[in-house]
């Protein structure tokens, strides 16, 4: 199979879909993004990289960051984490307080906002301070992507804080149930800085290799998580990775994946490769419209779906 050719075909075939979605506009820093952009990259377990489009263009990874934070927390706490965060799909939209209230402050999974905030709170518990907590997660992302130059866009982070009162409400609610252990304002700020990390699709596809390879980075040979933990993360990406459209994504694409409102999506072909796509226009469920289409074309053309 000629992966580069597949990517080139996809780049052509998604063109008609531009203009059908809407760039995220809840914060100015995202609303000003030029909509008709596209990039896609594949990194194989052997380290070969293929890409098409604006593959070096950095963008805000947003909820894709949840995968890295959860990985670090799962590695640090193991099964103890399940007492504080569930592993089931949520059914409700990604930011609903209702389920959180009915379930006594325990978020359904680590990929809804409440769950990711709780993951950050857990990591805060083993770090010196807020800064060190953020740095630890960022350092892990750099290591997974094998790229030291990755940073957070503080302008985006500040903008998130300003408009992020719903997330602060989630944090306060978990705090009221004693499931959050640190200051909600501080923990939420770390979370927003994480969402504001800027990466490109080449870096992201590289950073998925440990999940495509049973928890071991196939290039460095380092063990990041156990095989069981890697399977757990992949299963969660499949069942909960796309908010209220996870079922649709499981069918359309048929791969474990995680999207962000910045327009990025990462995905994993177990035993084969890591994938990332970026296109800022979102569909009505908040996932990259052209990105989802591109991943669907990829599994159709290559037959690499897990189903």
């Amino acid at each position: 199979m000629d992966i580069q050719q597949v990517l080139d075909e996809i780049a052509d075939e998604v063109t008609p879909f531009f203009g059908r979605g809407r760039v995220a506009d809840y914060i100015p820093a995202l609303a000003s993004i030029e909509p008709r952009q596209f990039a896609m990259a594949v990194t194989t377990l052997g380290g070969t990289r293929y890409s098409v489009g604006a593959a070096r263009q950095k963008f805000s990874i947003q909820s894709v960051a949840k995968v890295f934070a959860y990985t670090l927390a799962l590695r640090s706490f193991g099964e103890a984490l399940y007492r504080r965060i569930g592993v089931e799909p949520s059914g409700d939209p990604f930011n609903s307080l209702v389920q959180l209230e009915y379930e006594n402050g325990i978020p359904r999974n680590p990929f809804i906002n409440a769950g990711a905030i709780l993951v950050v709170d857990a990591l805060r518990g083993i770090c010196r301070d807020d800064e060190h907590t953020f740095d630890s997660i960022l350092e892990f992302i750099r290591q997974a992507a094998d790229e030291e130059a990755i940073t957070s866009d503080e302008r985006v982070a500040d903008s998130e804080v300003e408009h992020g009162y719903r997330n602060l409400a989630l944090a306060c609610l978990m705090k009221s149930f004693d499931n959050l252990h640190h200051d909600p304002v501080a923990v939420t700020r770390i979370y927003f800085r994480l969402c504001a990390v800027a990466m490109n699709v080449e870096e992201l596809s590289r950073a998925m290799l440990y999940l495509a390879n049973g928890g071991v980075d196939p290039i460095s040979g380092g063990t990041i998580v156990t095989l069981g933990q890697a399977k757990r993360i992949n299963a969660l990406m499949l069942t909960c990775g796309h908010y209220d459209a996870s079922g649709e994504f499981a069918y359309d694409v048929g791969l474990p994946g995680k999207s962000g409102v910045g327009g990025g999506i990462v995905a994993v072909v177990p035993g084969r490769l890591g994938l990332a796509v970026w296109a800022p226009e979102l569909n009505e469920r908040g996932n990259s419209l052209v990105g989802t289409k591109a991943l669907e074309l990829f599994t159709t053309k290559t037959g690499l779906s897990i189903f």
Copy 2:
């Protein structure tokens, strides 16, 4: 009718009910209150005062303060306030986020916590700063009670802040719907200081006179709110004044009233008198157990129910 004799009888008859409830224990400052205390006071429109028990003992008025804050807001904003706060019973427990989420951040009425926080936010909009906002409400309470010595117990307020993350979650949620206009942390702090205002039953019964007299203070002759606004507040106290037990209270007592977790309850006999009772043990719905019983005895003995 000999009101003093009625009060004396009630004080006797409620004795068997001591020990059946539980003092609020969500903050240390309230948990340490001696449970078997009781006080009741009546002030007539003419200014005559009757009382029994620990009538000069100050206690934390807690949610009773919501009546005063709402009065001030209704006087300041009139019907414009109804765009930001409803006037219907809530059905859910007093601090539920569910309804607030489904109704886009508009609290159902000013006597649930979210509603009272919003009232404070509205008043903040016409005051210089946070301090001035609190002072304005406190000054109104002093005026209604005709007593300058009323203050807030800052130790209780601090304790509330420390344990009040659910209320902060409510404030943040309303902020996320753009229904709260100021900083949630600051507004919530003003609200907690208000809950921590310390008064005795004599002062509270005096402070109800404007509601028993169609909006006009019968002693000073000053108009506090319009007749229509006074009726509105009384109607709200009847339908929403006792959290999830408002229907029960409407039946058992048959008077507009408002309770607080400090064990105080105020009530109004329209055209006749103001009432206040205090007994720190709460029933399972969070209202003073002995206080509710005392008010029930009062309307039974005097026939002064509105039904």
Copy 3:
């Protein structure tokens, strides 16, 4: 006070409000009602009757029937009924299943649909069969109104059955919680026949006298319910009588009352008189728009509000 003159004035003053509401259209039998109709009647405890407009025109009493069914059940079962039906406002729209599910099949009060269906089920338990159950309630209505000619419009009842699947869902849900004891389809049918009872405002105002007079019919002298039970029903009408607009009605009108989607509203001035009004156009909350206005004018003109 010249009650007849008050009614005549009201009839004039409500004219501008015609055309602002919508006749209930969920069943054909109600949708075909001529909208611009109006009637109002008052019956004093002494039996004097005043009326204006189409006071002899029969209409479908709909949810007003809930008052009579609950009266009969309260008389038959007393406080035992409270184990199966609550007495608190519901907050949610009148036909919501959500609260019923979260509260294990126990309806919040007897004036939401689920509560009224449960009342019918309770009465079914002390009657020979379905027919006898319906007949017993109808007979009680005739007695309260002192009018033998009252019947149910079976065409309306059939139409309700055909479109009443949400009510059947409520009944089935209560059955699944073992709170409904008889066949949901049969019980729901009795309920619909009850809603389809046709009465005029003169009959309805007469039928309220026992509630205005502490449980005793002031004309016949017969005790219908105890004083406590009469107060309970009045308190429930005040807090729960108008679906999701009960707080608004408590303020605007300031009397215990109950509305129906047929455009009728009954109300009670304790110690004075019974009232009924009819005007088929409904406001957005499902209560008679012109009828509510007429009652508001009545308490404004007579000063007879309970607040």
Copy 4:
């Protein structure tokens, strides 16, 4: 890989887990099942069959039947079905009315009870009558299992009807939203007869082959559904197949699967084989406890997980 040996090992290794779960007891017909039973079967695409335990013992397939009904509906209606049933995980327990009410009578997916009842209603629309509807689905099950002797246990079906008021409530609620087109009582009865179909693990593992083989029965060569539809059903089994424990199952087992409260679970290894397991004791989420363990051992031993 020696599949028979794998099955034999599993049968040994699950023994310690007997007695840790509870047989479904909501109907007498299921409550009387002997708990410590176990059976497991594998059928390869080539038609080779392996089994262990009580592999010929028939049991009530219950919710496993939803897979067959949905297959038939998807084949008959294609994408048009998505207007009436969603494809997303539900988050709530399998029989909740809450979500159904908030989403206007459209069930989240075909594997919650409401969804399966709607599937039956859709099939009813292309059949002569209720009997023919049931017969069509049963006939399809027989064809998929290549076994004519499969029938429904009418004693179980009757028992379900008697205790199935929550399901009837779901049907009535959907009817009230006009999403159910036929009589709720009749449709629900067909659904219960379907749940009462009795099969053994050999038949069930055989019946999964079309899903393991892209929609084509590998033995008969007949096309049952399109490749896309087969992928859709597999994706739904993975994300929604185990009620409120679908995420857990996706991780523990890592295969598309569907469980029933009769203790049966079917699963699919795409491109390889069909699986079925039976053990009547359920875990707290309502899935076969020993059956889930057995499937987890199967993917661990064979490495056949999709992740």
